[in-house]
């Protein structure tokens, strides 16, 4: 199974304390500086929608958001353009982009360090139902890819994979990953490259 349109969502610490409004000027400033590898285009504000996409930085090749879907707040990377180089590369590319976004958000003065990856909870989705239908066969087909990827990412730590959306075939195929210890984005980036 060829993975495309990979999404990662890195859940944040103390989500109830994260202010979303300051994200709007932050994302606009990212467009101003074109600070990420994708072409950044616009900002969409959906704070008025409960358990929704939150604040979205629209890009050509990918969207970044601080997303509250399922009432689980996290920094989400949604890859729209195709990625060459196989499944491990698709996973690595999306994870790297997610972690870099987390680093940047943590460093934003206007957010006062309130928006930080919790260090151990990551959600993965494939935003394409035809390529990756939400069923057992997809899970089986991707199992070895997940094992290889997350073993490397959480090097030196146990981790558990869960499929919380498995009973709801209408949802995107997704996996929830929890490591037994916390990691900083910098550590995870180092593991990705190691």
């Amino acid at each position: 199974m060829q993975l495309q349109h990979v999404n990662f969502k890195l859940l944040v610490k103390s989500p109830e304390e994260v202010p979303l409004e300051p994200l709007i000027p932050v994302f606009h400033s990212w467009i101003q500086g074109q600070v990420l590898e994708e072409l950044l285009l616009d900002v969409a504000d959906y704070r008025h929608v409960p358990a929704g996409p939150g604040v979205v930085l629209i890009g050509h090749q990918a969207n970044y958001s601080v997303d509250d879907t399922d009432d689980r707040l996290g920094v989400r990377y949604n890859r729209k353009a195709e990625v060459d180089g196989g499944n491990q590369n698709a996973l690595r590319q999306a994870m790297r982009a997610s972690l870099i976004a987390c680093q940047r958000l943590k460093a934003e003065p206007s957010l006062a360090g309130k928006l930080q990856f919790n260090g151990h909870e990551i959600e993965f989705f494939v935003n394409d139902r035809l390529l990756a239908p939400n069923r057992d066969s997809t899970r089986e087909a991707l199992h070895s890819d997940f094992k290889a990827f997350f073993t490397k990412l959480f090097r030196g730590s146990e981790y558990a994979l869960a499929y919380p959306g498995a009973s709801e075939p209408r949802k995107l195929f997704g996996v929830s990953v929890k490591s037994s210890r916390t990691f900083t984005p910098e550590e995870l980036l180092a593991n990705l490259d190691g």
Partner: protein, 751 residues
């Protein structure tokens, strides 16, 4: 953009209606031709618009980032999908929902599309459509295929065409209606969709149906064609029909529709609409888009002359069985409840009671209610759409409608189930107790995504919702039922003219800088189908609008006389007093260092309109023959592809079909009623263009016409690879000759 795009066609083969599947295949070919530079951008723009594929802000490749205008470096470079519209720039897909009617499967499809191709949100519009934003043009054929599999079309959702036919969302269940207009709205929608008489308008054409004259739900008075259910007695027998209005519309200068006929019987509904379409296509303005809506034609002609022309046209129409074949079944009830009738709940939490008060409307069928789901700014998430699909299946026979107030209603809820429905909606974040209150603010997309937006209507709406919600409980009962409607510009997509408190975006200069403003429009009437329009008072900086609202509602709370409606209160106050009340808010802040007003709501960038594009609302004025010739070219292209794939016979037939189509396009210039029959087309072509030598090339004479005549002679014979190849070459030359002929004839006579 999606890796799966190429797989969906096969996946959905046999699951989409054949006609829709073919249309989408054609559109996909047009995309390929545009990428190869074989379709010119103006024509391609109208082609996609007529399939609901609309431009979006910054698609001219420029965006003001608050400091300077950035050129967006799109990967496809200078390739465009319309004049000044970059190929890769995200766009909007509008999805037509006739009369707002939806079932659960369709909600689930919309959920999937919102997630996979947009940003996770589906947006309900003020004309009962859905819109998906930030969509890539190359994903649109797949979106259309997946919609078609759910029996939804995007055809003619934009462009100079008949737009979504809207109708009262309470039709069939409202105690005040004369009769259920839904079957008539659906019949008109189906009849006019792709109708040849509706392909040559200078601007869009919007029909609407209302079940009564007194409520707002259908807004018949502000539509190009407004139909209100009526009944009368003839020889003691009850007859139903429609009060027909024409030429209404909002826009910069709102027009109340004119009465065309106080009573037309159902069997005249479709033919009269067709005759109106023909008169509009023939006489409506084509060059000056700002005067191309039918309201201007009616203003210029006068309603009496317009009526006379339409009735004359009506006499010339060839009979069509579709005019009446639906009528017999139209009067039968087509919706039914899932559950037995129940009793209204008498107890429950304060929150539940509040929801009952604002979001529930009893049906005319005892024991049932309509539940309104108030969507903030018309937005709903993919998960919410799926939850709503489940609720619709659990409690109803999937009887849902979108509304012109950007909400969704669930019909046929047994009153016994109201508490359970509330619990289920609450779990999905869909039980906001604000329907049809001052919190239920209607807004167009404005500067968030619209190319024409001047001020941030959504940003303002979100801010007003937040502030009003904080003090909602303390608001006077009369204030709670006021309407707020906001448009990002004067084009009135937010319907500000028919609101108690209306606002539309304008730009003003202060201290040498552009400042986002809203023009304040007060005292419009929502009831009586949008019965009267509000009074413009003054323009106020966007950031001061919340204070405008506060002052107005406070004054209304304390100053109104017994039961005085807001519009009467505004009329009594008068413009001078209103100006006194608000004048200081129109001024810049006293402190020159205060830069608040130089940004808009929800957007921290210093305000600028330097990056504004050209609107596509009107589309490009492209005549019917432009489309015919483009279709002929596409068929020649498809013939070539078929030949390359070893399908010689199919290739030959496509080439012949292309020639006939081009010939028919020319004939249609003189005879709009020309049939589809190829022999008749060629006969007419011979009489009108060959015998008269109009088709003759200055150098080649009638040579290219002979290609067509010869092809007709052998049209029943199978093709070999050679014969198909020759015919493709001849078809190519014939279509080119048709282009030349058309150019020699000058600009087209409107059909």
């Amino acid at each position: 953009m999606k890796a799966s795009n190429s797989l969906w066609q096969k996946e959905l083969a046999g699951k989409t209606p054949e006609a829709l599947a073919r249309e989408i295949d054609i559109y996909e070919t047009e995309i390929a031709l545009r990428k190869q530079g074989k379709v010119e951008e103006r024509l391609f723009a109208e082609t996609r618009l007529r399939r609901g594929v609309y431009g979006q802000r910054y698609d001219n490749g420029q965006r003001h980032d608050g400091k300077k205008v950035q050129e967006m470096a799109y990967p496809s470079g200078t390739l465009t999908k319309g004049p000044s519209t970059m190929w890769d720039a995200p766009g909007m897909q509008r999805i037509k929902i006739p009369a707002g009617g939806l079932n659960a499967d369709q909600l689930e499809t919309l959920a999937e599309l919102a997630e996979e191709y947009s940003d996770g949100i589906a947006h309900v519009t003020t004309r009962q459509d859905f819109q998906l934003h930030y969509v890539h043009i190359e994903d649109t054929p797949t979106i259309m295929r997946r919609l078609a599999a759910a029996h939804i079309t995007t055809r003619e959702a934009c462009g100079n065409s008949v737009r979504n036919v809207t109708a009262c969302p309470y039709a069939g269940v409202c105690a005040d209606e004369v009769f259920d207009v839904t079957p008539y709205a659906r019949a008109l929608s189906k009849f006019l969709l792709g109708h040849p008489d509706c392909q040559n308008f200078g601007r869009k054409f919007k029909p609407s149906f209302s079940g009564c004259g007194q409520h707002a739900c259908g807004l018949a008075s502000m539509h190009d064609l407004g139909l209100i259910a009526r009944e009368r007695s003839e020889n003691g027998e009850r007859k139903i029909g429609f009060e027909m209005h024409v030429g209404g519309g909002l826009g910069a200068v709102p027009y109340q529709a004119k009465l065309f006929d106080s009573f037309i019987p159902p069997e005249e509904l479709l033919p009269l609409a067709q005759a109106i379409a023909r008169v509009f296509a023939r006489l409506g303005e084509k060059k000056n888009r700002s005067r191309a809506r039918i309201k201007f034609l009616i203003q210029d002609l006068g309603i009496e002359k317009f009526r006379e022309l339409v009735l004359e046209e009506r006499k010339t129409l060839p009979p069509d069985p579709r005019w009446t074949e639906y009528i017999e079944s139209a009067t039968a009830a087509f919706e039914a409840p899932l559950k037995p009738a129940g009793k209204a709940p008498l107890s429950g939490s304060a929150e539940f009671q509040r929801w009952l008060k604002t979001n529930i409307r009893p049906q005319k069928q005892a024991g049932y209610a309509v539940v309104t789901i108030a969507l903030p700014l018309g937005d709903i998430t993919a998960d919410q759409l799926r939850a709503l699909a489940d609720i619709a299946r659990q409690f109803t026979k999937e009887t849902m409608r979108t509304t012109v107030e950007q909400n969704i209603v669930l019909r046929w809820i047994s009153q016994d189930d109201l508490a359970a429905v509330w619990q289920a909606l609450r779990a999905a974040g869909l039980a906001d107790p604000s329907a049809e209150t001052i919190l239920d603010i209607v807004t167009c997309p404005g500067t968030d995504t619209c190319k024409l937006g001047i001020s941030s209507s959504r940003g303002l709406a979100a801010e007003l919702r937040k502030r009003l919600a904080e003090k909602n409980a303390q608001l006077d009962e009369a204030v709670q039922h006021l309407h707020i409607k906001i448009s990002g510009c004067f084009n009135s997509c937010g319907q500000h003219h028919v609101s108690d408190l209306g606002f539309y975006g304008v730009s003003r200069k202060m201290a040498g800088y552009a400042v986002p403003h809203f023009q304040v429009v007060l005292g419009g009437e929502w009831n009586n189908n949008g019965g009267s329009y509000g009074m413009p008072v003054m323009a106020v900086p966007s950031k001061h609008i919340p204070e405008v609202v506060t002052r107005l509602v406070d004054r209304y709370s304390t100053g109104r006389k017994n039961g005085e409606a807001f519009k009467d209160f505004i009329k009594r106050m008068g413009k001078a007093e209103l100006k006194n009340l608000l004048e200081d808010l129109a001024r810049p802040p006293a402190d020159p260092a205060d830069r608040t007003i130089f940004t808009d709501w929800g957007d921290p960038r210093e305000y600028s309109l330097e990056d504004m594009g050209v609107g596509e609302c009107a589309g490009e004025v492209v005549s019917a023959i432009d489309f015919d010739l483009a279709d002929a070219e596409r068929e020649v292209f498809e013939a070539q592809v078929a030949l390359e794939n070893g399908q010689a016979d199919r290739a030959g037939k496509l080439a012949y079909q292309a020639m006939v189509r081009a010939a028919r396009g020319l004939v249609k210039l003189e005879d709009p009623n020309i049939s589809q029959d190829s022999d008749q087309v060629i006969g007419e072509f011979r009489t009108r263009f060959y015998d008269t030598q109009k088709f003759f090339d200055p150098f080649a004479g009638g040579k290219f016409a002979h290609y067509l005549f010869a092809a007709q002679q052998r049209s029943q014979q199978p093709h070999t690879a050679d014969s198909a190849r020759y015919l493709i070459d001849e078809a190519h030359l014939f279509v080119e000759a048709a282009h030349s002929c058309y150019q020699r004839m000058g600009k087209p006579v409107a059909v």
